[in-house]
């Protein structure tokens, strides 16, 4: 692996981590689209900043462009507060306007500046190692590595300092305000960090793909955990994995690095969406099927419990009476047999002692809806796990 290759991967990984952190809070605050708005509206900020500084990696340019991002958020809120349009409409009004101002500025000055619309939309990581950081003639590595490293450092420091405040204001705005943690301050803090991150990452991954880096890792992690800290860690892991894997995919296909990174992010999300142990699609479908069988089982046991006469307990009669198809009847009877809840003698079904106890408990639970009634049978059955 050559040095530039390593540098590109390092930059990609740092961009991914820096995006994943604010991304988690945007997803939890249901503000994912705001990142899209910010990433597009900073364009005029970048262009004007570039006129002034003549350097795409200047910290001044980053602050200037980030300010445009915050202004976008404010504009969206102002339009929304009029009550005339909803938030999504407000977002849809603001960012294309800002973006087009940027596009016009680039077109009008295309001869003077080193910016084109393609690079703005998609970024180009492959060129990142060419722009070096020189301190009194010494090569300190790629400039964008330093820029994103700086952004990440700020972001992590703020996260560690204000984790508790971010958590409470994200979960419960009212409480946060009553406790004295101003939700307004925290909101704009988060928006500022998001803007700075997006501006920093813009050069590498472009305006469209930076949204994927913010939202996809957080959305994937959300499916896997019930703990905010773990969600942050998992987002970072998914982000870094997709950055590195995306780089090598691009290498293999000879395609755009940022495009490949985003593709990997999409694939990772799809896999987790299908396979996640609790919230995953397959596990949900499996659980629903189990629950249907178990509801049937309880219906079946209750029927046995209610009828002592043999005619009501004949296996064929049961099929007709409860009105199930053969397969279902068989799977229910098998499940009851497997759990020693019934015995079948001469085609007459009887509840065992265990079956009676189970039915009693299930009845209690259905009638009182209290969890302590069923503590012991919870482990065997999905139905009671809530």
């Amino acid at each position: 692996m050559s040095n530039p290759q390593l540098e590109i991967q390092l930059i990609a990984a740092i961009v991914a981590v820096a995006c994943a952190i604010p991304g988690v809070f945007l997803v939890l605050r249901k503000m994912a689209l705001i990142s899209d708005a910010i990433s597009h509206s900073i364009l005029p900020g970048i262009v004007i900043g570039f006129f002034i500084t003549q350097d795409l990696n200047s910290p001044l340019l980053i602050l200037f462009a980030a300010l445009t991002g915050v202004i976008t958020v404010i504009l969206v809120e102002v339009i929304q507060k009029t009550g005339l349009v909803k938030e999504d409409t407000a977002i849809g009004l603001v960012f294309p306007t800002m973006f087009s101002i940027g596009v016009i500025l680039i077109a009008k000055n295309a001869n003077d500046i080193h910016l084109d619309v393609d690079a703005v939309l998609l970024g180009e990581l492959a060129f990142a190692p060419f722009d070096r950081m020189l301190i009194s003639g010494m090569d300190m590595g790629p400039k964008s590595l330093w820029v994103m490293g700086g952004v990440l450092l700020v972001s992590i420091t703020l996260l560690i300092l204000f984790f508790k405040e971010l958590k409470v204001s994200t979960f419960d705005v009212g409480l946060s305000s009553a406790l004295g943690f101003s939700p307004v301050v925290l909101h704009y803090g988060l928006m500022s960090v998001s803007s700075i991150t997006i501006v920093g990452a813009f050069d590498a991954v472009g305006a469209i793909l930076v949204v994927a880096l913010m939202i996809a890792p957080a959305a994937t992690a959300y499916l896997l955990t019930n703990d905010l800290k773990r969600m942050l860690v998992l987002s970072v892991v998914f982000g870094v994995f997709s950055a590195i894997a995306g780089y090598w995919l691009a290498h293999l296909l000879d395609a755009s690095i940022s495009g490949s990174m985003t593709t990997v992010l999409g694939i990772v999300f799809l896999l987790v969406y299908l396979l996640a142990p609790k919230k995953g699609l397959i596990s949900v479908l499996y659980r629903q099927k189990q629950q249907r069988t178990e509801v049937s089982l309880i219906t079946f046991l209750l029927h046995l419990n209610n009828h002592s006469e043999k005619s009501e307990r004949h296996i064929n009669h049961l099929q007709e009476h409860i009105n199930w198809q053969k397969v279902r009847s068989k799977s229910v009877v098998d499940l009851a047999l497997k759990n020693n809840m019934i015995t079948i003698d001469n085609n007459i079904v009887s509840l065992t002692k265990k079956g009676k106890e189970f039915t009693g408990k299930a009845l209690d639970y259905i009638l009182t809806n209290r969890d302590d009634k069923i503590e012991n049978i919870k482990d065997d059955f999905f139905l009671f796990r809530g």
Binding site: L161, K164, T170, F171, G174, S177, L179
Partner: protein, 245 residues
């Protein structure tokens, strides 16, 4: 009854988009009462609580908690928002939500430690939810979620408790458990302000009541003012509730 005033609201007016939601409210709540705020939907009950807590900025009026502005008295006040106001799919556990109650006394940046965790566990035990401490909050029933919110307020160890519809969507067992805890708090000298919907239970649960419908209709001891006259004035229709006089 202690003569000290826990809450004092003067000439409070609140408006959303120029439409008044609360109009010239004067309200004095003595220390140590368990007070219900009743009124029809849109009467401004939640808004009144939120204005006292500084969550909503009023367009006029002043509010004091034990004689001082709310900003200075934050630590004396606990707040239970409406259960529906938060996202219960948030990735966190019951214990963690209760711990949030300790954030106020910690202030900015400082993290909760062992002391706060112990207090949170005690509060969970008080509401009968200790065995659910590690449960993800979306896995709790409505009644259990309400108990978690109550535990979060208990851990604040406040002098005044504001609760926005704590009985909404809870089963009878939880309702009794909650009201018993509220009555215990009153016995310990705390002041409680509860937005309440079920008029039938007002005389049984509360000793003080405020009738609200954009304007304040009446406030005082339940035994003196909880009558058909005030109910009719508040709800606008002829109300008949069996009240023991």
């Amino acid at each position: 009854m202690n003569e000290k005033l826990a809450i004092s609201v003067d000439d409070l007016t609140v408006a959303y988009n120029y439409k008044p939601v609360l109009w010239d409210i004067d309200l004095e709540v003595p220390e140590g009462v368990l007070m219900a705020i009743v009124g029809p939907n849109g009467a401004g009950k939640s808004t009144l609580i939120k204005s006292i807590l500084g969550i909503i900025k009023p367009i006029a009026g002043s509010i004091s908690i034990f004689g001082k502005p709310y900003d200075k008295q934050r630590k004396l006040v606990a707040y239970v928002p409406q259960k529906g106001s938060v996202d219960w799919d948030f990735p966190t556990t019951a214990l963690d939500v209760v711990l949030m109650g300790t954030y106020g006394s910690l202030g900015w940046i400082k993290r909760p430690g062992q002391k706060e965790k112990k207090a949170a566990l005690e509060a969970l035990e008080k509401v009968g939810m200790l065995s659910f401490k590690s449960r993800q909050i979306s896995q709790l029933s409505g009644g259990q979620q309400q108990r978690i919110f109550l535990a979060r307020a208990l851990v604040q160890n406040a002098s005044i408790y504001f609760m926005d519809e704590p009985f909404q969507g809870v089963d009878a067992t939880t309702e009794i458990a909650i009201i018993n805890i509220l009555k215990e708090l009153r016995k310990a000298g705390k002041t409680l302000v509860v937005v309440h919907h079920d008029l039938q239970t007002v005389p049984e649960y509360f000793d003080w009541v405020t009738f609200l419908n954009v304007k304040k209709i009446a406030t005082g001891p339940v035994k003196d003012i909880f009558n058909d006259d005030n109910l009719t004035k508040t709800y606008g229709i002829n109300y008949k509730v069996a009240v023991n006089k």
